[in-house]
């Protein structure tokens, strides 16, 4: 089980690097490397967001070092996010390959959505699949007005009134036909 041991080792190393980044213990070069990896590794980016949350929760306050998490999340605007149908129909599921990675036009600071297939054995959560199925989420995405409309009622006044979705792909069954 050499692979497993390596994976475990890598995970620990990643966790330590993230922790150091959060504590401001990395030098400029290491910080830059770490941020670049965060930008391309959805799992790592989720872990980073969780670290931020845990750190805040542990300290019992939300704004100890507000700039850092926000700046890093700004750097993560490129994180791929997917939308996917619930049922797998492999012969029909043609992700929008042509779309590819289009530069995110929207401003940062929004809410990123992740949509996946219901099939537990699905490969949709793997970063490779996410990357392959990414397209730009613009302000014209069909879901965005729903989010804003929902927030009018839910927690409307305290939340950013305009939710921005960035980089969500639309399954072929939705967008292509």
């Amino acid at each position: 089980m050499v692979t497993t041991v390596h994976e475990e080792h890598d995970r620990r190393a990643d966790a330590e690097r993230l922790s150091a980044l959060l504590d401001g213990e990395l030098d400029a070069h290491e910080t830059s490397l770490c941020l670049r990896r965060l930008g391309h590794d959805a799992a790592l980016s989720r872990q980073w967001a969780e670290y931020c949350l845990i750190r805040d929760a542990l300290r019992g306050e939300a704004l100890v070092q507000p700039g850092l998490c926000r700046r890093v999340h700004a750097a993560l605007a490129q994180e791929p996010t997917i939308l996917a149908p619930m049922r797998r129909r492999s012969e029909r599921r043609r992700w929008l390959r042509g779309a590819g990675l289009v530069a995110a036009a929207a401003a940062v600071g929004g809410l990123t959505w992740m949509l996946w297939t219901a099939a537990p054995q699905s490969e949709a959560m793997s970063p490779q699949t996410e990357s392959a199925s990414v397209e730009t989420m613009t302000a014209h995405h069909p879901l965005q007005p729903y989010l804003a409309a929902h927030q009018d009622f839910a927690q409307g006044v305290a939340v950013y009134p305009q939710v921005r979705l960035t980089r969500v792909s639309w399954p072929a069954a939705e967008g292509g036909r």
Binding site: H150, D152, A154, V157
Partner: protein
Amino acid sequence: MSAPALRSVLALVLGLTCIAEGAANEALSAQEAGQWLQRVADSARRLTYEGKFVFQQGDVLQTMYVVSRASGGQKHTQLVTLDGTPRELLCREGETLIVTHEGGAPRVERRPGSRHFPDLLPANAAVLVNWYSVRWGENDRVAGLDCRWLELAPRDVYRWRHELCVEKDSLLPLKAVMVNEAGRPLQQYAFTEVTIGTGVRPAAPQRSLPAVEPPPLRASTADMLTLRQLPPGYTRIAAVKRRLPNRPQEVEHWLYSDGLTYISLFIEPATRPLEPFKGASPRGMLNLLSRRVGNWQVTVLGDAPWPAVEAIAHAVAER
């Protein structure tokens, strides 16, 4: 005092302390819980207060100023964003005016809904005891004031846990946390400074605001779909037709709530083949399911656990 006597006294004191702690952490009876919840809900509506709070949801952090003045059974609340674009929210019963100061003249929008921190509990908060088990937690200190945690634990999978640290004298919530089933905080509000009652600055004279467009809402007329069964405690609290950006025609927006959890149901004509899809924000704070029912596309979206969103989405049927 002899050593054995001293030990007896110590044992007694320790025993009493444990009883007090134990009693404090027992779930409250439905009647007690209902009374406390109602008092906390009323405090946020009937008190005059002013302060600054931070709001955290996932990656978003926001600082806001709030002042709420109560008089004659009414309350007027003003919230101002202290980060990013200056935005002012004027909350009245059931609606909010949002004034955005960017560039030239301020832009004013009217929005439905007026829920805001610290006024998060519903008006009839006592009924929450049917869906949440309530208990007092630890003492704490927030924004320099002593408070005590009031914990609302869900009785089923259709809602999340809520915790409020309420100020000891006034019962005004100073901190509010929504926690998911794994115990992870999804959303938090906390005052960093607050003045309650006397000391709040007097209201500024009324300003004249630019004309506000009429609310983009009409009463729902939809009777084409129905919900067969709702998760326990959820009722429909709003049903409107509204015009949304990127939509050629009005969509139906129905809102379901148990008093603390809010789930929206959007209905629009299905204009193309649709495979059902689901989604969530990265930490699961928002869940979504979209499916086709007859000739309609139905999208359910809420700051609610997946089972609640799923149950509502699957309950939709044609009449």
